[in-house]
């Protein structure tokens, strides 16, 4: 037999003892305070909120210092090695009271872009309409996965004691994967293709991905960017030329609204816990608002929607009149969400509430 390492030798010794009937079983008596738990399912089944009972439901103000992936509420043996990555470990900077609910909702509302979109109902469209749809899809394919990359950038640093938040963010990453795939599929499915990427979008995405802290990034992405995209999804459903786009946008709307919901309640939680950090949020939103307004006015961004709203490239000015309401609604809903979160930006917002007629 070849020479084995001490680790392998130790494991073989333990197996040998077990073969001799010498078992440890000390784990059976671990965590006595957590034993005897009988969580009860609610009408929706056994949810994360349902199992937050007794010590398992105590969300610490600061995540456990052991820095491992040990589950909240378990007994962590001394000497358990830290993984060295979980440095986002304050409840205030990640928590939202609706994270568990939104995670369960996300899992229940998963859909498949292959199965749940009635692709067979696609029909040939006039060339300008197809190009407008394809440009819209190109831009959404480009920007949607920022809401996957950004959570992924922070997820591995968030302390495991806040598993509700981590699970919600994992569900968001998967939502965004689906958005990226469904818009790409639509662009390639009806005789068109991808059109032009957007330098303005990249500018906004860079501000989001480089945001200096998780909460600042969340305010920028969940509330500002995803809030605006939520309205664009609603507008996409409104303008949809066939039942295919109708269903795509309606299902994406649902997903996006969950992300906005998390961001709003996270910001509320953060501002209540750390009011002295309000200026950080204002500062990043100053930058984000300018970037998103600039992006919205890019020809490749706005013109496809004007074509769809007017009904053709020769009726874009009609389309402009028909979409005038959208900007006001988008900004009002954004400011309203911030107010619900505890941040009043009505007098500071960089985006004009009304556009020149």
């Amino acid at each position: 037999m070849s020479r084995v390492s001490p680790t392998i030798e130790g494991a073989l010794d333990r197996l040998s003892m077990m073969r001799d009937g010498k078992f440890d079983l000390s784990w059976m008596h671990a965590n006595p305070g957590g034993w005897g738990t009988r969580a009860q399912p609610s009408p929706l089944g056994l949810t994360l909120s349902d199992i937050n009972v007794g010590p398992y439901g105590e969300i610490p103000a600061r995540g456990a210092a052991h820095g491992s992936m040990a589950p909240r509420g378990s007994e962590v043996p001394p000497g358990t090695p830290a993984l060295g990555s979980y440095d986002v470990d304050e409840r205030a900077v990640v928590w939202a009271d609706n994270a568990a609910e939104l995670y369960e909702e996300a899992v229940a509302r998963q859909w498949s872009s292959a199965r749940d979109i009635p692709w067979e109902r696609l029909e040939p469209l006039p060339d300008d309409i197809e190009r407008a749809v394809c440009q819209l899809c190109t831009q959404l394919t480009e920007v949607e996965f920022i809401a996957g990359d950004l959570p992924a950038k922070w997820l591995w640093r968030i302390n495991h004691d806040f598993h509700e938040v981590k699970l919600f963010l994992a569900s968001q990453i998967f939502d965004e994967a689906r958005h990226m795939d469904v818009f790409r599929k639509r662009a390639l499915a009806n005789g068109g293709g991808l059109l032009q990427a957007s330098p303005g979008a990249e500018e906004l995405l860079r501000i989001i991905i480089e945001a200096p802290s998780y909460t600042v990034a969340s305010a920028l992405m969940h509330i500002l960017a995803e809030g605006f995209v939520l309205t664009l999804f609603r507008h996409g459903e409104f303008l949809a030329p066939t039942p295919v786009e109708k269903r795509i946008f309606r299902l994406c709307m649902q997903d996006e609204a969950r992300h906005v919901g998390y961001g709003t309640l996270h910001l509320r939680h953060f501002l209540r816990a750390c009011p002295e950090r309000t200026a950080e949020i204002h500062d990043i939103l100053d930058r984000g608002e300018e970037a998103i307004f600039g992006l919205g006015a890019e020809p490749a961004s706005i013109e496809p929607r004007l074509i769809l709203a007017g009904g053709g490239v020769d009726r874009m000015q009609e389309g402009m009149l028909r979409t005038a309401f959208l900007h006001h609604k988008q900004v009002e809903e954004y400011l309203h969400r911030l107010r619900v979160a505890g941040l009043d930006r009505r007098d500071r917002c960089k985006i004009p509430l009304e556009l020149p007629q």
Partner: protein, 153 residues
Amino acid sequence: MDEFPSVAWFQRLAERMAAQPEKYRRLGPIDMTLVPRIVFPDGHVELYALAFRGHTCASVEQPASLAAVRGPHPVVIEGDYAAWRDMIESIRRHGGADLNHTLNALTLPDWPLRLAPLDEREGQLDVDRFYRYAESLQQFFDEAAAVETRFAA
């Protein structure tokens, strides 16, 4: 045949929802109270409160006023009677909402239907629930395709 609007008419939709548990389970749970507010040509207003819990519409009530609406996360969807009738007739004609008569398409411009939160503190958060449950709520109203309807005005 039930008259629109009435508790009985909305109850028919709720019954059809309850009869298709697998369809609505797959769409996902709902937790909100939708409050249709219908303004008649003569100016009188009727209110209904549809309490969605999980995968069902658990109750249909006709509150006397907005202040009397009970249930979590109330969101008003309001519009003239003609707009409601037009939506329902379209659903019945096409077997479901056509491109111009989905709940989202009718409410996005705030006309002919409009969404408004009842709870000022939660405000937009409650309206955002309407977006979170968009597909389920659309399917619920699309049940009108199979409900024999008599119009009140």
